[in-house]
Symmetry: C2
Subunit: 339 residues, 2 copies
């Protein structure tokens, strides 16, 4: 069911114009601004056909046409210009932010969220995932009080997490060091999953400390389940005319300000570095009604770092959003490679 070239062109014009203006697009608009060589009556019959096919709709009989979800989907995959370039000042801005702040993965995630939100003018979400397949670099206990230690988990992407573990009150520093040596040997080159599955064999003299190792494993399991969640620009949605209604704002904010819901939203199946676009809420029950989500998962050296997403009205500047997310992804990857 291929659309004729002219239909595609007209559909693209309608979507482009509507994304920019938020005003239903009329046949006259199209002929005066874009297609000056054909008459509005011709366009009108094409629009009517596109409506028949489900790509457009009218808010009311005497209004212009508005794209449907189906139109946005086609727009994203086929119609829109995909190699949109960011301006030099935007590129410079991105670079400057990441040069400054790249100390640890959390900072990078936070900065990325902020940068994306700033440049796109949409709410930006991110979750940092801790995967069972993350490779461990070291696991170490660090005594705090006589009977408790801080657990440090280091993975190859330098993400790490902290947790308190109880120690037997009579454990000596030497014994703790020995424990750390055993932990270091155990985790050598293993993924978290592999570490947790390892049957640990302790010397008899160490059996009394077995529960420490079990606690470490528990902490690792907990670590996998946890994920940090970052949000920026929750207020950005208000600049868009479709959110003039308090009820809609409420619906949007109740999702975006709830970390659990954000996590649900972002924990898609996307295993590729490719950009994922979900238009409209149909089929995706987590996305607020009438919203779209553009997301990407960033990797460094095979390890999943986290997922980013821009969420906004269906009438979203997909070109810009895709360009920004793509570029930030490249920058992050190059930063993490060089360290």
């Amino acid at each position: 069911m291929g659309l004729s070239d002219r239909k595609k062109k007209i559909l693209q014009i309608v979507v482009d114009d509507y994304i920019q203006t938020a005003v239903p697009v009329s046949s006259k608009q199209i002929t005066s601004k874009y297609l000056t060589d054909i008459s509005s009556a011709t366009v009108r019959s094409e629009l009517s056909a596109l409506e028949e096919l489900g790509y457009l709709s009218q808010p009311h009989t005497s209004a212009g046409r508005v794209p449907s979800s189906k139109a946005y989907k086609l727009y994203v995959t086929e119609l829109m210009q995909k190699d949109k370039k960011l301006t030099q000042s935007e590129l410079d801005y991105i670079k400057s932010v990441f040069l400054q702040k790249a100390d640890n993965i959390e900072t990078v995630l936070k900065s990325a969220t902020k940068v994306i939100s700033e440049l796109t003018s949409y709410t930006t979400l991110a979750v940092s995932s801790h995967e069972a397949s993350d490779r461990l670099v070291n696991v170490k206990l660090f005594r705090v009080k006589q009977d408790s230690a801080l657990l440090i988990i280091l993975t190859d992407t330098k993400i790490f997490k902290d947790n308190f573990i109880e120690l037997p009150a009579d454990m000596t520093d030497d014994q703790l060091e020995e424990t750390n040596n055993i932990l270091a040997k155990f985790c050598q080159g293993k993924t978290i999953e592999e570490f947790c599955d390892t049957e640990l064999e302790l010397e008899d003299s160490f059996l009394g400390f077995k529960h420490i190792f079990l606690n470490v494993i528990n902490a690792l399991k907990e670590y996998i389940e946890q994920s940090e969640c970052y949000t920026e620009g929750e207020d950005k949605i208000l600049s868009h005319p479709e959110y003039a209604d308090v009820v809609k704002i409420k619906e949007f904010l109740s999702v975006v300000t709830d970390k659990d819901k954000v996590f649900d939203l972002m924990s898609g199946e996307d295993k590729e570095l490719k950009i994922n676009v979900k238009v409209g809420s149909e089929g995706y029950d987590n996305i607020p009604d009438g919203c779209s989500l553009v997301s990407a998962t960033y990797f460094a050296g095979g390890t999943k770092l986290g997922t980013y997403g821009v969420i906004g009205p269906e009438r979203m500047d997909y070109q810009k959003v895709v360009a920004v997310i793509e570029h930030v992804g490249q920058i992050i990857e190059s930063i993490l490679k060089n360290r």
Copy 2:
């Protein structure tokens, strides 16, 4: 300029009623619901006098009275019933949350923010402060790669922070251990401020590592400046009728979703455990127009843990908010004391 008892009573009724209903209070309302023994005409003249004194105003001539900021201020300090008790289920809820999650200070802060927001139905903000007067328990470097180490800072309130420090490539493990011993000795019982001011005397053989110590001090100074910021229930504001207007919502959200602004808001001068109420935006230029902020700073063993605040419309249920904040503060303190 003492108000007569009757004026106070009437003012209290107006504020109470308006907080509950958000509808301008009329003289008839007052006489039929609260003061059945006097006539509405009498109340009317009192209301008129209260308006003259700046405690009340009218949205328009044929409307009831609405409290002014001045009225809310008086209400908070004098008029409102202060020993409002939480219900048993509310108390149980608070207890259950904190029993479950008290692993580290960040978790406690997050839970507290959530609990307060949930129980009050207002947006809740919190910042965890790192004070120069925090007492150090230990400072330790933990090698990650040959040339970089993770810095762990432990203070007596168990808050801690992490940061990477560069090591000379040829530094041995023994030298690192020695460095840690020196750090441990140096920080013994000192506050962060004292630690940073200490003139460190190194043995000749260790002078080559002096920059490590300087970096640690820098990290500590950075640590003091940093502060985490938690927000919950940004969407709660939308339930209140005064926020039916998108412009007002925008103003509110632009403050509440901006971590820098939240920090400004919360970094008041409050050194006491007392509850601080800022009514209306006049004089406090960070608070969004027409908002009030009820905040408290929590301490544990003399160390400032962080500041909490509930922000919402001037027409806020101060009784409830104060009661919740007070109670959560007590719970946190008792938790942190028993560990």
